[in-house]
């Protein structure tokens, strides 16, 4: 009887050990034969659904390159923004490639590879208006979308400098853009997309990005403790940066070159 219990106990521990979160080396992924990647299909141009309802975009292409480099099959799991960290922590996915901005708060729960792309909050304005920094905005009117980094940064700066910038807050990006196109403000705050959408609008030709306010970088997310995988992913990011693949992806999907990508 006692031998039976001991056998069952060892068997149970073996089963538990194999399903518990374990440091996943690159060899183990190769042996498994599949790389499971968390993606988001509602975030163009990084993750979206194409005409045939297939996942496509910058992040999807990058995940494909990672799988090809490892020589494994690729499997996608679609998650939404709050679901990215849980997907990693519950072992549903191996990595997250989904405009995962690198922040210290998130780093308490997951690890990030070196940045492979980024997005900047920027000030956008007419081509004939010179503006190199927030100093040049003194006495001017700028439209921003309420609650965005552009709003927080310009409002805080203005408050510290005697309310010298007139900040008009709108509820959404179309209104913000409309305010600038209608001449109600001198400049507007926008993200990457602001620049892209402006160029698509009929009057957008006369405007350009003036200067960035703050840049966020995206890293590949993985479980903490996965030293081997982290080293490999950083090496991978270095190689695709170096041989121009990353720039090509950026031009293909964002129609713009990448911002500066630091290493951590």
């Amino acid at each position: 009887m006692r031998r039976m219990f001991r056998f069952l106990a060892v068997a149970a521990m073996a089963v538990l050990a194999s399903t518990a979160a374990q440091a996943q080396t690159v060899d183990e992924i190769i042996k498994k034969g599949t790389l499971v990647v968390a993606i988001d299909t509602t975030t163009p141009p990084y993750g979206m659904l194409d005409g045939g309802m297939q996942a496509s975009g910058f992040d999807i292409d990058l995940a494909g390159l990672i799988a090809k480099s490892l020589g494994v099959k690729l499997e996608f799991v679609t998650v939404n923004s709050p679901g990215r960290i849980p997907a990693l922590l519950t072992n549903r996915v191996d990595i997250v490639v989904s405009i995962f901005s690198i922040t210290a708060e998130r780093a308490q729960q997951v690890w990030f590879s070196n940045p492979y792309a980024g997005q900047c909050s920027a000030v956008v304005g007419p081509k004939n208006l010179a503006a190199k920094s927030l100093e040049d905005l003194k006495g001017k009117k700028i439209a921003v979308t309420r609650g965005t980094p552009e709003d927080n940064i310009t409002s805080a700066w203005s408050k510290e400098h005697g309310d010298s910038i007139s900040v008009l807050r709108f509820d959404d990006y179309p209104s913000t853009m409309q305010a600038m196109l209608a001449g109600q403000v001198d400049l507007m705050g926008g993200g990457d997309y602001g620049d892209i959408y402006l160029r698509k609008s009929s009057a957008g030709e006369g405007f350009e990005m003036k200067f960035p306010l703050r840049c966020f970088h995206f890293g590949i997310g993985l479980r903490r403790g996965n030293t081997d995988l982290l080293k490999w992913l950083n090496t991978f990011v270095y190689t695709v940066k170096n041989d121009g693949t990353l720039d090509a992806l950026s031009m293909k999907w964002r129609k713009a070159p990448l911002p500066a990508l630091p290493t951590m």
Partner: protein, 221 residues
């Protein structure tokens, strides 16, 4: 419901809410005054004016009443500037709110005017009163008294509708509420606070309206 309310961050920003409420009161008062003027003149002209004038006023009323206030705000703020007429958020807010209130109030006052018995007007004519005097004393005064409650509630609707001007960047109470929500992420508390302030503002305006009614329309019914 196991949500724990934290009003601390909201109360700490009471100054922002006060400034927002002040702008709401200013916008509402200005648009009420201008709107009332538009309404009285418009209603009288609509009832007694020449045909082309009556037609223009009818067209104005229909245009305003058949489009949303938000669209009217957008037109004044976004569409007029390229056509040459640019104004600030507060100015655009007052213009749109006044035009909006004026249209609805014209119809309300007109209902009061048309309910004046024809016999009263004829009595005035037979006394040799001038047309203007008849309109002032015989037609308008009783009409305004009769429709005053309807007009007061339209004013209150306008006060509450002023919350829409946050869409054209006027930093009134609702806009302040949205800003604080973005800063503190305490949506429940902000909604409750903003709602309570609007409630109090309406009570204050109602008191003013009641006082005005008692002072202006003292004669017996």
């Amino acid at each position: 419901m196991d949500y724990i309310f934290h009003f601390g961050p909201i109360f700490a920003r009471w100054e922002l809410f006060a400034r927002g409420a002040l702008l709401t009161v200013q916008l509402a008062s200005a648009s009420m005054a201008i709107g009332l003027l538009i309404a009285v003149v418009g209603a009288v002209l609509r009832s007694f004016g020449p045909a082309p004038v009556r037609w223009v006023i009818a067209a104005y009323v229909e245009l305003i009443r058949n489009t949303p206030l938000l669209v009217q705000l957008y037109v004044v703020f976004f569409v007029l500037p390229p056509l040459g007429l640019k104004m600030s958020s507060s100015q655009a807010a007052v213009v749109a709110l006044s035009a909006n209130l004026g249209a609805y109030a014209i119809e309300i006052i007109r209902a009061g005017i048309e309910s004046t018995p024809r016999g009263l007007v004829e009595a005035g004519l037979s006394l040799g009163m001038s047309r203007l005097a008849i309109i002032r004393h015989i037609v308008l005064a009783p009409a305004l008294r009769a429709i005053f409650p309807a007009l007061a509630s339209q004013f209150v609707l306008q006060l509450l509708g002023s919350s829409l001007v946050s869409a054209i960047a006027a930093e009134e109470l609702t806009a302040v509420g949205n800003n604080v929500m973005m800063q503190t992420f305490r949506n429940f508390e902000v909604f409750l606070m903003v709602g309570a302030i609007y409630f109090v503002l309406v009570q204050i305006f109602q008191t003013v309206f009641d006082g005005a009614y008692r002072r202006l329309f003292r004669w017996p019914a």
